[in-house]
């Protein structure tokens, strides 16, 4: 099962162009594969323009969003020392969606929406942490329960605000509650945020490895625990906020990807973090390609597919934890 980390990372890197070509070649419109090359080469024919102007931005957005969510998930899992942590499951996406949506309704600019999404994500993590710590000891079960209940609360707020603002906006509702890559924002800001996020997270990787063994031991081994936790916290919130403002609340990518990578033998965060970025991108790109083609011409929100993957993985992980002595 275990592979050398380097081999695995190279394999994931090779999967990126493969998944990208597959995504560009598939869709509700049947195009010849040659259209993919012509589209990438800047041809101005109709099928080449479908590839270059419709499919390529969406595919890049899927790559970026998947990477953002998987990286955020890996960081949250280390911060909370819980392999079940995920931005969607713990309501961080919900907090970000609420923030962005409120800014949108109040007529805020794109920048204000991003800021509000970040504020919402920060508020959501703070809420989870406060409730999980509560009075006394920090327990993983309490953490998960608080997060899941808060997530339900955020979703109710989103539904409430949407009903007030734009009655009958079913597609908007789906976007904020389940996530959808079909709204077509430019992928460049998300890609830039992803590269920046990884660059900021990677130097924290070895301290993260130590932190997984507990705060006391990490402190005794020379890790400045509280500053590290603050940075993890802010980074996870930031990555989630960017993902949510671009693609809505897509769930479970942050849960599934780090888990699969750990199963494959990647435990060192120096390998795990970049692999999560690539793996999350590829997974969401493939999921979105499937969402566009499985019931074509009908398009599924990609969140339906990630939930179909994520729910069994979550239950499996939860069950395995319970069985441990």
């Amino acid at each position: 099962m275990s592979m050398a980390p380097r081999t695995l990372l190279l394999l994931l890197l090779a999967l990126v162009p493969g998944a990208l070509i597959l995504a560009l070649g598939s869709g509700s419109q049947d195009l010849p594969w040659s259209a993919v090359w012509r589209g990438l080469a800047g041809d101005t024919g109709l099928d080449a323009r479908i590839v270059a102007e419709l499919r390529l931005p969406r595919a890049l957005l899927a790559l970026a969003t998947g990477g953002l969510l998987a990286l955020a998930g890996a960081l949250m899992q280390a911060l909370l020392r819980n392999p079940l942590a995920d931005p969607y499951v713990l309501g961080v996406s919900g907090g970000a969606a609420t923030g962005a949506l409120l800014a949108l309704l109040l007529g805020g600019s794109a920048l204000a929406q991003h800021g509000a999404a970040l504020a919402g994500a920060v508020a959501a993590i703070l809420g989870v942490l406060a409730l999980a710590h509560g009075s006394g000891r920090f327990s993983p079960a309490r953490l998960l329960l608080s997060g899941i209940i808060l997530a339900a609360g955020w979703n109710a707020v989103v539904a409430f605000v949407l009903t007030l603002g734009e009655p009958g906006e079913l597609r908007g509702m789906l976007f904020w509650l389940m996530g959808d890559l079909g709204f077509g924002p430019a992928p460049e800001p998300a890609l830039a945020a992803l590269v920046l996020g990884l660059a900021l997270a990677w130097p924290l990787a070895r301290p993260l490895n130590v932190l997984l063994q507990g705060e006391t031991l990490a402190g005794a081994l020379g890790v400045e625990v509280v500053p590290l936790q603050r940075r993890l916290f802010l980074l996870a919130a930031l990555l989630t906020a960017v993902a949510v403002t671009h693609a809505g609340s897509i769930g479970f990518v942050g849960l599934v990807v780090p888990h699969l990578l750990r199963l494959a033998g990647l435990r060192d965060h120096r390998w795990l973090l970049p692999a999560a970025v690539l793996g999350g991108g590829v997974l969401l790109l493939l999921a979105d390609t499937a969402a566009r083609t499985v019931l074509a011409p009908r398009q599924l929100p990609v969140g339906v597919l990630t939930a179909a993957l994520g729910v069994p993985v979550f239950l499996y992980l939860l069950n395995r934890r319970e069985q441990r002595p």
Partner: protein, 257 residues
């Protein structure tokens, strides 16, 4: 006092309503192995964490190799002082070798990776705590006693001059209990390190340690060479339960009750 590896002066430690110690004077000199005794809830763990610089003291100062502990960067402190925590909880998969290697963390630069020499140190440390051959095992499959010995191996890999060990003997079978404490004693005697080891049995303290620090409750403490501290009076006060030191033909044991 001057060349103590770790020294506390006028140290006061408080946790909740419990006063762990007040005006504590302590100097761990090279070669000394100190036992830390106290009843349940007396604050042994809190005192060890305070001496490790992981929580603030209420008053007093702590010096590590003559320098104020709170002024030392954590990484630098971690190269000189190691702590074995009382409990381990591993929510994520990882191998025994990886856990032992994390002891190299304070010695490696930000961009540096563990090299062959670090791996050799880790393997050697695992062998010293009786975990040779466990390198590839998942830490989550270890028994309580095995996990504690792995924790000690991590401290050995960290290679500090001062060892603060929180109940290294609990969960261990008799053979490993004595082997681990003999190892700690040897680390002090032969490599000129100093250790402070929290224990539950006066007998283990007598057998493996040169000195003892006893928490008497209400912030009072008794500290010094084992012969002077591990007396009937001190131990009876410490545990609020009769304890007698019996000596016959050079053997010492403790009768409880």
């Amino acid at each position: 006092m001057k060349d103590a590896l770790l020294a506390a002066r006028g140290l006061a430690v408080q946790v909740g309503t419990v006063t762990v110690c007040r005006g504590l004077e302590l100097a761990l000199a090279p070669g000394q192995c100190w036992a830390l005794l106290g009843r349940n809830g007396a604050g042994k763990t809190t005192l060890l964490h305070t001496l490790a610089g992981l929580r603030p003291a209420r008053a007093g100062d702590i010096r590590l190799a003559g320098r104020p502990l709170e002024a030392l960067p954590r990484r630098e402190a971690a190269r000189r002082l190691g702590l074995l925590p009382q409990a381990f909880d591993d929510p994520f998969p990882g191998t025994v070798l990886e856990a032992a290697l994390s002891g190299r963390h304070p010695h490696l630069g930000l961009w540096e990776w563990e090299g062959a020499e670090d791996v050799a140190r880790a393997r050697q440390a695992l062998a010293r705590v009786g975990l040779a051959g466990f390198e590839g095992r998942d830490v989550r499959t270890l028994s309580g006693g095995e996990r504690r010995r792995l924790g000690l191996a991590t401290v050995l890999v960290q290679d500090p001059a001062v060892l603060l060990l929180d109940e290294p003997a609990s969960h261990l079978d008799p053979r490993h209990r004595h082997r681990v404490l003999e190892l700690v004693g040897a680390l002090c005697r032969e490599d000129n390190r100093a250790a402070l080891v929290s224990l539950h049995e006066p007998e283990l303290a007598w057998r493996h340690c040169t000195h003892a620090l006893v928490l008497l409750g209400n912030g009072e403490t008794a500290a010094g060479p084992r012969e002077q501290v591990l007396t009937d009076e001190v131990l009876t006060r410490c545990y609020d339960y009769p304890v007698r030191r019996l000596e016959a033909s050079g053997e010492v044991w403790f009768r409880e009750g």
